[in-house]
Symmetry: C2
Subunit: 177 residues, 2 copies
């Protein structure tokens, strides 16, 4: 997997940001394939700064010293080079990371009602994701980002369609037993 360091470099590529802003971007815009907690983010930013791939500027070094500085992080030329190199070396991999599939795999050890619940939950999860995805303002974003959203929508639709057909059929056959 593309690690958090590289994700941060990618986010900073288009302009300087605070850690808080980076966190927001990852957990909103990227939530369909990636999230990050502060406990992972700040150490990652620290590491990147130590490697001089980013620099930080304290935004308020005014008279009064505050306990915590408000830093704005900026990608360096080395950081841009590193990002390019890592992306070029990244294999396009993908996996459905799915509790639903895992649980369903063991469905022959589960009660029919649990299986039915699982399918209902998954459908509602997919529908929730779908709502998120279609509410994104596609027209105002770069091509790559728009493409990613539409790709994810296509996958979501296929999963939903399959579940509505086959999943419902399984539920029906279970309740008949």
């Amino acid at each position: 997997m593309l690690n958090l360091d590289t994700i941060c470099l990618g986010v900073l590529y288009s302009g300087s940001k605070t850690g808080y802003e980076i966190h927001k971007i990852i957990n909103n815009d990227f939530k369909h394939f990636q999230t990050a907690s502060y406990g992972a983010l700040y150490p990652a930013l620290g590491k990147l700064e130590a490697k001089a791939l980013i620099t930080s500027k304290n935004k308020n070094v005014q008279a009064q010293q505050q306990s915590l500085p408000k830093k704005k992080y900026t990608i360096t030329d080395d950081g841009r080079i590193n990002f390019q190199t890592v992306i070029k070396g990244t294999k396009a991999q993908e996996r459905l990371s799915s509790d639903f599939l895992a649980a369903f795999y063991f469905s022959d050890h589960l009660d029919p009602e649990d299986i039915s619940t699982l399918i209902d939950q998954q459908l509602s999860t997919l529908q929730g994701n779908y709502k998120d995805l279609i509410s994104v303002p596609l027209s105002t974003m770069p091509d790559g980002q728009r493409f990613g959203i539409r790709y994810t929508i296509a996958v979501n639709r296929a999963a939903t369609a399959f579940l509505k057909g086959e999943g419902r059929a399984i539920q029906t056959s279970l309740t008949r037993k």
Copy 2:
């Protein structure tokens, strides 16, 4: 995420197995949504045994003492209860864990040829996965497992179709620039 402990319990639910066999099952049958290294697996089994959710029996306590025992792990009644409880409490979640989407998200900072490579790679990854999926002997497996495979195939097909259409279109528009 459903953790490795629970996956192990699920695998052992249908019969006793060695760590090696569990590893093989996870990394072959489950590879579309889960993998596990030995370095994660054996400690997990040790933990489960300490909690008495599984027991182990040394298969060769013959005369000669070997450096490493060959253990067969068996799920206990407590283990079955624990498995049921955890599954019932599991939310059906799912996410596309994707280096492809991550890299593509930053495509406005990449060279056209890199983007093109990314799409080609992703298509070949999807096609590789597809081959794996259709080579599974569907007719001999439990309903739940067959359902999971077909669900994954449906998603894979949608992704491939989208990429073949939209992805190719992007490649063409890039090379025209």
